[in-house]
């Protein structure tokens, strides 16, 4: 072990990316000489203090003070000999001094941090704060969005749109060990599970979805054999594949799927994203989705504006919702048993390639191969290839990185910029796929319904202009993320390189806006900023506080517990003013409908509002509706771009960066990004959630 490594460990340099422990030095301004000097002083104090204590201890050990009244120390078997203590004392002091000097020299030396490879997107622009959405890993808001809508991620691993036959040398067997960063809440019924990326990852090992996204970014049937809209996209007829059974032997048929769609689609979590599905009174009098069963395997879903069955809504992108959480199908027998209390919700039963063997929350989910799975590969080999998968939860991505390097896990996905940067340098040893498109946006979520300065666009835009996104990127994200100009990441419908939003810091412009607001209202601007209790988020908040202080805005910072972060935003609680947030992955703008449409905006205290920011904008509404209902891709694209421009103009939210996901793995893992959908189209890894990958086609090269 090199001394330098040891010192690095001791001094806990956060930027090394390899060291855990207390991040003693917050390098908010890493290039700031003052900060470097301050670091040296602190380390000097530590080194001196430490070595002084060592020296004193050494002296004390060498020259112990006899107890009062005890016999004088003499040479003997049970007594110490201190005749040499004087010489040893001096030697120890010299040694302590040398160690101190060594520590100081090492600490204050110009350590060359490992070079960070450029982002694969080619952008070297600012990274932004890793403002994660709430909850243990990602917010239920984020999960809700990405459970119902299509979320695709195009990995840098090459996938083609043509049918790809599996390699002839595929090896079956073996157990894959996967790690993820967060645990699901309320596992595992599709209606109740608060699903983030890793939850989706795991759920798709034992559940099959009705549909899935292909590499061509189109929706393809999965459990469904066909998904057919009528001419005006107001009715969608789904025919389920024949001959499929759930793990408990229950047959998969139209009734089973309808039961799932009703339960999940009317549940608290998902229902608000399906407002434009027609509703009719159910047997119990409560509204249920208008779904009509045609025969044993076929049923039709009807759209209706705001649920009105008399107002069918053309909805060309509807089928994408069947590729999300809503489309995950569990055994109806099991669902009934869970409702009756005779089965555990934590022991799910689906029809997927794997069967759940055991589940320990925040620890491990173990699944084993479903020997009767209904899919085979193009060569007729029974899927899945693996004998089993062990899904572990390792919340700290650096610990997960260590585990991968040690071979304790085989693969994991992370959005931690530092970890990704590290693995870029180890690409030869640990191949890594990266998702740079359709990913989430890190941004500051503003509560537009909160009385105060945020209701004025000038204040919002000033706050945005004051941020130095380059610096934020360097400080928080190893400089590898891309600055965001809006909530539309590259590759998403509506993305614009120039949407009218200037990402560069403009203190003068920001100050002018604030001055104008203050002159008009006579009120100083105070912002209450909330974020979850992580070190990075805290650092982000500190930086933001500094930027806004430059334009005369006072920021009060609060750390919000993860469990209340989402509910505060959902309910519009008084402490929700401006939150550090991450959301809006996906390809089509339709998946963002309920996040931004005014119909989903509920005033604080009046209920749950999926439109967290309580955005109420006629232009945004109008164009969201056009994008939802238009069958003309160009028209839908234009509408999405208009939403982008309007949101940028009004500064409804303050974007900082787009998330980057990396999936490093051991070289023995094969088949990543090569899973084939039942109709022969390659699946699109990242579909469903950023960082997600299909497990059906994975295999281990022994």
């Amino acid at each position: 072990m090199a001394i330098h490594d040891l010192v690095e460990v001791w001094m806990c340099r956060p930027e090394s990316g390899r060291v855990r422990g207390a991040e003693m030095i917050v390098t908010q301004h890493p290039n700031d000489v003052t900060q470097e000097i301050a670091s040296c002083v602190v380390l000097l104090a530590i080194g001196c203090g430490y070595c002084s204590v060592v020296a004193v201890a050494g002296v004390t050990t060498l020259n112990p003070t006899p107890r009062p009244g005890s016999t004088p120390i003499t040479r003997g078997k049970f007594m110490g000999n201190t005749n040499r203590s004087m010489r040893r004392r001096s030697g120890l002091k010299i040694g302590a001094a040398l160690v101190s000097i060594g520590l100081i020299a090492a600490a204050c030396s110009d350590k060359k941090d490992e070079a960070v490879a450029p982002a694969t997107s080619g952008a070297t622009a600012e990274t932004t704060a890793e403002s994660t959405a709430p909850s243990t890993g990602e917010s239920t808001a984020e999960t809700t969005a990405e459970t119902t809508a299509e979320t695709t991620g195009e990995t840098t691993a090459e996938t083609t749109a043509e049918t790809v036959a599996p390699p002839p040398d595929v090896v079956t067997g073996g157990t894959l060990i996967v790690s993820g960063e967060a645990e699901v809440g309320s596992a595992w019924t599709p209606a109740a599970m608060q699903c983030d990326s890793y939850c989706q990852q795991r759920a798709r090992s034992f559940y099959d979805p009705v549909a899935a996204l292909g590499a061509d970014r189109e929706v393809h049937p999965y459990l469904a054999e066909t998904i057919t809209p009528n001419d005006d996209f107001t009715e969608w007829t789904i025919k389920i594949r024949e001959g499929i059974t759930f793990h408990d032997g229950t047959p998969l048929n139209a009734a089973a799927v309808i039961k799932n769609l009703q339960l999940t689609g009317t549940g608290l979590l998902i229902s608000k994203s399906l407002v434009d599905i027609a509703k009719v009174p159910g047997p119990d009098g409560n509204p249920q989705l208008k779904i009509e069963e045609t025969d044993d395997l076929t049923f039709t879903i009807f759209t209706g504006k705001n649920g009105d069955p008399e107002a069918p809504l053309p909805w060309p992108g509807f089928d994408a919702y069947l590729a999300g959480q809503w489309g995950l199908i569990a055994s109806p027998t099991w669902l009934d048993a869970v409702a009756a209390g005779t089965a555990e919700a934590s022991a799910p039963i689906g029809s997927g390639p794997f069967i759940v063997e055991s589940y320990a929350p925040a620890d491990k989910l173990v699944v084993k191969k479903n020997p009767d799975y209904w899919q085979t590969d193009a060569n007729g080999v029974q899927l899945p290839y693996l004998d089993g998968i062990e899904f572990r939860v390792i919340e700290d991505s650096e610990i997960a990185a260590d585990a991968l390097r040690s071979g304790d896990i085989d693969i994991f996905s992370t959005s931690s910029a530092y970890v990704i940067a590290d693995f870029r340098e180890d690409a030869d040893t640990f191949p890594m796929t990266e998702q740079t498109e359709f990913t989430e946006t890190n941004y500051i979520l503003l509560n537009l319904a909160a009385p105060g300065p945020l209701q004025d666009a000038r204040v919002r835009c000033a706050l945005s202009k004051a941020i130095n996104r380059d610096e934020l990127n360097e400080a928080i994200s190893a400089g590898i993320l891309t600055t965001a100009n809006g909530l539309f990441s590259p590759g998403q419908q509506g993305y614009l390189e120039d949407n009218g939003f200037d990402k560069a810091q403009d203190i003068e412009g920001a100050q002018a806006l604030i001055d104008e607001y203050v002159a008009e209202t006579g009120e100083d601007v105070t912002i209450n900023y909330g974020t979850t209790t992580t070190q990075l988020n805290q650092q982000t908040a500190d930086l933001l506080q500094g930027y806004w202080a430059e334009i005369g805005v006072t920021m009060e910072y609060q750390q919000v517990p993860q469990d209340s972060f989402i509910s505060d935003a959902l309910l519009g609680n008084p402490n929700f003013f401006a939150f550090g947030w991450r959301l809006h992955a996906g390809t089509k703008i339709d998946s963002q409908y309920f996040w931004w449409h005014s119909s989903a905006a509920v005033n604080p205290g009046e209920g749950l509002s999926l439109n967290f920011g309580r955005i109420r904008d006629d232009i945004v509404d109008e164009n969201l509706e056009i994008a939802r209902s238009s069958s003309d891709p160009a028209e839908a694209q234009a509408a999405a771009e208009e939403v982008n421009r309007q949101m940028a103009k009004e500064c409804y939210q303050i974007p900082t960066s787009w998330t980057l996901w990396g999936t490093p793995h051991l070289p023995k893992l094969q088949g990543l990004a090569q899973t084939i959908l039942p109709d022969g189209t390659p699946a699109l890894d990242g579909a469903g959630f950023s960082g997600q990958f299909w497990v059906t086609g994975l295999w281990l090269d022994s």
């Binding site: 201890a57 000999n81 608060q194 608290l268 555990e344 929350p361 491990k364 040690s406």
Partner: protein, 321 residues
């Protein structure tokens, strides 16, 4: 016997006070019963579900009433239901208790096994080279924060040597002894070293003083072999320091276990407690704290009893009341 009952009563009071305190701390700032119920259900639930939770756990009652109901359920083995994890807290707790208990036991047992011979030899050859090296080493180890020690040990044994895994797996001795050793070695070593260092320093100091006592001189003069003088006479009279340390260090051990369990991804009481606090999983927090407090008070009770075993004079004093 009277002493035993007195101690048990005292420890019970400690247990009640601590668990009640936890309940209050977790409730304060949680908002109204409705808000608390909603949080317990993960932030999204219908009014009916919230009302059900409030009714079941008496969240709308005062703290004392809530605590008494919780205590009643605890006694009957119903530790509540974790909505976040969708399972009974009892079911959640069992593997956690196993992991932390095993780690704690290893730390204490191996800490004693390491500390005693080192300290005895240090005291026997006081101011010799072994004494100096051991003193310096124990001092360094005690001064190193647990997280730093974790990093160092992982760096050495996992990253550099590849002997042990970076993350632990819950393999128990009765399932696979080799696998258990492999997965628990580093976390246990991380906890053991500081404990051993503390015990060694205490015992060394105590032994050094004991060895100056007149009865030791007499024993030597009588021709009792040095080994017997050290291990039978001196050590026995010096063990109080270690025994006391076992009791007093247990709380610190739990704190260190939190760090170690998190760092080595070995899900135990400590790591889960942190998670439960952050997610406001009330019943999990209360139950975990109850278990930890119970462990600590029981161990301290055992320590008190051990005093009587080690020193007959204490037995007499206690017998006399």
């Amino acid at each position: 016997m009277r002493y035993v009952f007195q101690r048990l009563a005292q420890l019970l009071i400690v247990f009640l006070l601590v668990t009640f305190g936890v309940l209050i701390v977790m409730r304060i700032g949680s908002g109204s019963a409705n808000e608390l119920g909603l949080r317990m259900l993960g932030g999204q639930a219908s009014d009916t579900q919230v009302a059900e939770v409030i009714s079941r756990y008496h969240l709308d009652s005062n703290y004392v009433v809530q605590y008494l109901y919780w205590l009643r359920d605890l006694v009957t083995g119903d530790l509540g239901y974790s909505q976040i994890n969708n399972m009974d807290v009892t079911q959640l707790l069992t593997p956690l208790v196993m992991v932390t208990t095993l780690l704690g036991l290893y730390a204490i047992i191996f800490g004693v096994i390491i500390a005693v011979p080192v300290a005895v030899h240090q005291a026997y050859r006081r101011d010799g080279w072994f004494d100096r090296i051991a003193s310096l080493s124990t001092f360094v180890i005690v001064g190193v924060p647990t997280i730093v020690l974790s990093v160092l040990l992982k760096l050495m044994f996992n990253t550099r040597l590849g002997w042990f895994p970076a993350i632990g797996d819950k393999i128990y001795p009765w399932q696979d002894l080799g696998g258990h050793f492999k997965n628990f070695f580093l976390p246990a070593l991380t906890l053991t070293l500081p404990i051993a260092a503390i015990y060694a320093r205490l015992l060394r100091a105590d032994m050094s003083l004991t060895l100056q006592a007149d009865f030791i001189t007499l024993a030597s003069a009588k021709g009792v072999p040095p080994r017997q003088v050290l291990w039978k006479h001196a050590l026995r009279n010096s063990l109080f320091s270690i025994v006391t340390a076992i009791g007093t260090q247990l709380g610190a051990l739990v704190g260190s276990a939190i760090v170690v369990e998190t760092f080595f991804d070995l899900d135990g009481l400590g790591g889960r407690l942190i998670r439960a606090v952050l997610t406001r999983d009330l019943f999990t927090v209360q139950s975990l704290v109850a278990v930890i407090v119970l462990l600590v008070v029981l161990v301290n009770f055992g320590v008190d009893l051990l005093y009587a075993v080690l020193d007959p004079r204490i037995r007499q004093v206690r017998a006399l009341g």
